[in-house]
Every structure is written in structure tokens, then in C-alpha cells.
Amino acid sequence: MIGIIKRYILVGTAIIAGMVILLGYFIKLPAIDSARTILLNWAIILAAVALIIGLVNLLVVHSRKIIDKKSGNVYSVILLVSFTITLLVGLISGPTSQGSLWIFNNVQVPIETSLLGILAVVLILGAVRLLYRQPTSFSLIFMIAALVILLGTVSVPWINVSWLSSARSWITRVPVVAGARGILMGVVLGTVATGLRVLIGADRPYED
């Protein structure tokens, strides 16, 4: 009995919340707007709490690795020390202070930029190996498209051919957009179907 009541409360809450947010897009009524704003504010508070729970979970997982002396626990030590320092600097002097900026400029930006640099090397080698592993017409098309995009972007005097720039523009405006739009349409249809299922109570992910 309690289970049935609990289910009705959960389904009712989800449907009402979803309908209020959805109606807010179509009907401009002060009551709906206020309810929508309150619900959305709750949602972002929950999202922020989820972020904090994620951080706590990260700390617990890595603390366990250190206590259990698992392999690679030195990285967990580095993570915990870095986390503590960053958190303390942020809490004491603020997220936009000189200390936070120093950490950001001298640790995070160089590391993430270096990772993208490594990605460039890996992608170049991947493109080269593609023709060796799969010497098909599609691989050739992929390779030619990559070269046109790269060379059509730059303005080196001795390869600054106007058709390269036009070809790059055509590739990015027609086939790329067509393919991406196709994927997006699929995503949109899936999202609408999932949203409707939640709204009518056919799908209840919050019960798990």
C-alpha cells in the first residue's frame, strides 16, 4: 500500500513539474512563471549539490585507494593534495583571487593545452595509419577532406589557392552540417519521445 502511494506521489510530482515547465514556454501567466522559476531554482540547487556529492565521492574513492595501498595510489595522493590546496585557496581568498588565478594559469591551462597538443600528434598519426589499415575509397575521401580543411584555413602565400578556401567553406557548410543535422534530428526525436514518456508516467527513471 505504502509502495503504491509512494509511486503515485513520485509520478504525480514528476508529471506536474514537467507540465509546469513545459507550459511556461507556451503560456505567459504570472502564476506559472513563478512556479517555473521556483522549480528551476530547485533544479540548479540540486545540480550544485550533485556536484558536491561527486567531489565527496571522488575524495572517498581516492582515500580508499591510499588506505588499501592499491597500485597507482601515488596519483591519488597527488590528487588529494592538489584538491586540498585548490579548495583552500578558493575558500579563503575567493574563486577569482590572485591565488586561484595563479593555479589556473600555471597548472590547468598548460596541462589542458598540452593534452590537446598530444591529440594533434595522435590524430595526424591516426590519419596516416588509416590508409595503411583500411585502404578504401572512404578512407581516401576522409584524407582528402582533412587536407582541404587544413590547407583551406591557412594563408600561406605559396599554397594560398582560392579554390581551397572555397572547397573548405563548402565542406563545412554542406556535408558537415547535413551529417550533423541528421544526428541532431535523431537526438531531438529521441529526446521528445523520452520527455513524453516521462510526462505521461510511462517511463519512471526516478523509481530506480
Binding site: 522559476t37 577569482t96 594533434a120 595526424i124 598519426l125 596516416v128 591557412v154 602565400p157 558537415v176
Partner: protein, 387 residues
């Protein structure tokens, strides 16, 4: 426990299976002697062990269930069942590779590629390369600039910093010029972000401008950093629905809405301009869908990474426009610099960018040719059958 033999095909099966993994027929496990050694709960033989419980045994004698229907399973389905069983039993183990001593060909290629790129970038940075002309501006860039130069004094402008730190060098040249244009015209930038690093990213941008322009722009007199909006698209929706309730305070906990440039700002459409700096199509789409639809006459401008450009461009080309101006990638930043004649921030990077792109293209072309020849040679040496 011992293996269970299937009565249908006669093959051995693990004891915990109920269906034969070879022919999918139901398996009947041999009855264990312990099952008969129940202790009678009542009667004259109660609490005695090692006896056969006659009543329950008699009650359990029933007509056997007719397992006559054989599950129709194709060979591919059996293979999938076996695959699933193997996965759930043993887990996935990565194939162990024995590493050859010394540097392998792959490692050597990676090192050579990295060195070629580093050399190209260094050449572009160290030596002045005026031969690499900055690209010319297109309509998207001229319209972008038009929206900025027509701003009134003390106009509140919303700036969203929605990119990861790795994309800083691609977006910062155009961002520095835009910030300089805004602040030198007396506009009042309001910084926000839906990414946790965006709060610091915005502060870094102001710091870079102060350093390059030799000025001291400070919060809250020249700009304000509202901070992080959690919740992605939902957070943006909430921000759009109630800007003051979402941000009662700024990032460092100070009051915001009493500041003179923001006193009349009650919704996002009260800003004179909204500019989004992003490296991701998803974030751009969230801003266009969650915020752009309610902006009314306020223009929405985008400064995007080159990787996000193809999917943002249709929003610029739509009628009516959903994006009113677009600067894409380092090339777009360089074109914007040419068009506005502002600070030289793209020029030092443009040569290095060009050199590295040409070297990357050369490596792909050369490596691709070698690969095609190598693949042709391999297939020839394997014989006409290709085996």
C-alpha cells in the same frame, strides 16, 4: 560442484545454469541428498534428523512438467549468448602485449611527428613571418563589430565564458580585442559561465587585457563576475527565467543589482548585448535555445572554436537570425583584428598556426602516400588471394 550433463545433447554444463549452453534445452539438476534431510517440524518424529519426511515427499510427487518445447535459437544467437556469458563470467581483459625492447616504430613516428610540429610552431614564433597575411573579414565579422561599436555608454553586456582552458589560445585573441572594445567604450561587462572553470576563465581574460593594454580594469567599477550557473541547460533556463533570483550575489559574495549599470536589468533582454565564447556546439545550442528565444531585440553574438563553427553557422544563416554575429577560431580572431585594427594579439600566433597546419598537412600527405604504397606492397606479397 560437478558439471551437469544435458539430457538432450549429452554435453557438460556449469552447475549454475538452468538452460543448456550448447542446445538451449532445460537442464534438470541432480537432486542433492541434503534436500531430503529435512527436520520434521511436528509429530512424533519432530526434531529428529536424518529421516525421510514422508508427507512432504509424497506431497511433492507431481506429474513432471512437460519440457517438450525446445527454444528456437539461431547459431548467431547462441554465439551471442556464449559471448555474453563469457563477458559476465570473466570480465573483459585487455590483450597483453609483450613490448619489444627499445623504441618501436610507432613510438619513433610519434616522436618525429611531435618534433616536426614543435619545430614548425617555434619557427613561426621566433621568426617574424609577415608573409602570412591575416585573413580578411566576412559579413559575420563586420556585423559582429557593428553591434559593439553602436553600444551606448554604460550599456550592460552579458559575456558567457563557456570554453575549456585548453581552447584558451584559440579564443583569447578575439576575446581580448572584444573586451578592449567594450571597456574602452564604457560598456559594463557582466561575466557568467555554465562551466566550473568559466568563472576563472573570465577573470583571466580581464587580466590578459590589463596586461596587453596596460590598463587597470577592476570589479565592480568596470565589470562584474557573477560566477557559475550549475545545471547546464536547466541552469540556463533558470537564469533566463529569473536572473536576479539565480544570482542574488556575485562570485565573491557581494551585492550586484544595486550597482548603477545593473539597476534596470531585470531580465536578459535588458542587456544591450549577449556574447557567448564557446568551444562546444552543445553549449552554443543551449544558449540559442534557452536564452536566445527570449532576448527580443538584444543581439546574441558568438565567438566559437573552429570545431563548433559548422553547427553554429546555420543559426547565423537562418531567417530570422538566431545568432547575429559569429567569429570562429583563430582565423576568425585574426580577421576581426584586421577589420577593427585593434591590438595585435592574433598576429604573433598566426605565423606559428600557419606553419604548424602546413607541416601537419604535409605529414598526412606524405604518410598517406607511404601507407598506400605499403598497403599495396603488403597485399601483393600476400599473393593474389589476399591471404
Amino acid at each position: 560442484m560437478s558439471e551437469v550433463q544435458c539430457s538432450h545433447c549429452g554435453k557438460e554444463n556449469p552447475p549454475d545454469l538452468e538452460i543448456c549452453q550448447h542446445c538451449q534445452s532445460p537442464l534438470v539438476a541432480p537432486q542433492q541428498p541434503e534436500e531430503l534431510a529435512d527436520v520434521p517440524p511436528e509429530g512424533p518424529l519432530s526434531e529428529l534428523t536424518g529421516i525421510i519426511p514422508i508427507e512432504s515427499a509424497v506431497n511433492e510427487i507431481t506429474i513432471p512438467k512437460p519440457y517438450s518445447v525446445k527454444v528456437r535459437v539461431s547459431e548467431s544467437q547462441r554465439a551471442n549468448v556464449r559471448l555474453l556469458e563469457n563477458l559476465t563470467k570473466e570480465g573483459v581483459r585487455p590483450p597483453s602485449r609483450e613490448r619489444a625492447p627499445g623504441v618501436t616504430i610507432q613510438q619513433a613516428l610519434r616522436i618525429l611527428t611531435a618534433m616536426a610540429l614543435i619545430l614548425a610552431i617555434s619557427w613561426g614564433i621566433i621568426f617574424d613571418t609577415p608573409s602570412f597575411q591575416l585573413p580578411s573579414a566576412d559579413a559575420r565579422i563586420s556585423e559582429f563589430s557593428e553591434h559593439i561599436i553602436t553600444l551606448p555608454e554604460s550599456a550592460p553586456v552579458l559575456l558567457a565564458f563557456e570554453y575549456e582552458p585548453g581552447f584558451s589560445s584559440e579564443l583569447e585573441p578575439s576575446m581580448t580585442i572584444i573586451l578592449d572594445q567594450l571597456l574602452s567604450r564604457g560598456a559594463y561587462p557582466v561575466l557568467v559561465s555554465t562551466t566550473p572553470t568559466g568563472v576563472v576563465q573570465g577573470q583571466r581574460a580581464i587580466g590578459l587585457l590589463n596586461q596587453k593594454a596596460g590598463r587597470v580594469y577592476e570589479a565592480p567599477s568596470d565589470y562584474i563576475n557573477l560566477g557559475y550557473i550549475p545545471g547546464g541547460a536547466t541552469g540556463l533556463n533558470s537564469f533566463n527565467a529569473g536572473i536576479r533570483s539565480t544570482f542574488p550575489l556575485e562570485a565573491n559574495g557581494n551585492q550586484v543589482w544595486a550597482l548603477p549599470p545593473l539597476q534596470n536589468v531585470n531580465s536578459l533582454s535588458d542587456f544591450n548585448l549577449v556574447i557567448v565564447f564557446t568551444d562546444s556546439t552543445e553549449t552554443a545550442r543551449s544558449w540559442i535555445e534557452q536564452v536566445g528565444t527570449d532576448l527580443q531585440d538584444t543581439p546574441l553574438l558568438m565567438v566559437a572554436s573552429a570545431q563548433a563553427e559548422p553547427l553554429i553557422n546555420p543559426y547565423y544563416n537562418s531567417d530570422p537570425r538566431q545568432v547575429d554575429g559569429l567569429i570562429a577560431g583563430l582565423a576568425g580572431g585574426a580577421a576581426y583584428e584586421t577589420y577593427t585594427g585593434g591590438m595585435e594579439v592574433s598576429r604573433p600566433l598566426w605565423g606559428a598556426f600557419n606553419m604548424s597546419v602546413v607541416v601537419a598537412a604535409g605529414l598526412i600527405l606524405f604518410g598517406g602516400l607511404v601507407s598506400v604504397i605499403g598497403a599495396a606492397y603488403k597485399s601483393e606479397s600476400n599473393g593474389p588471394s589476399g591471404h
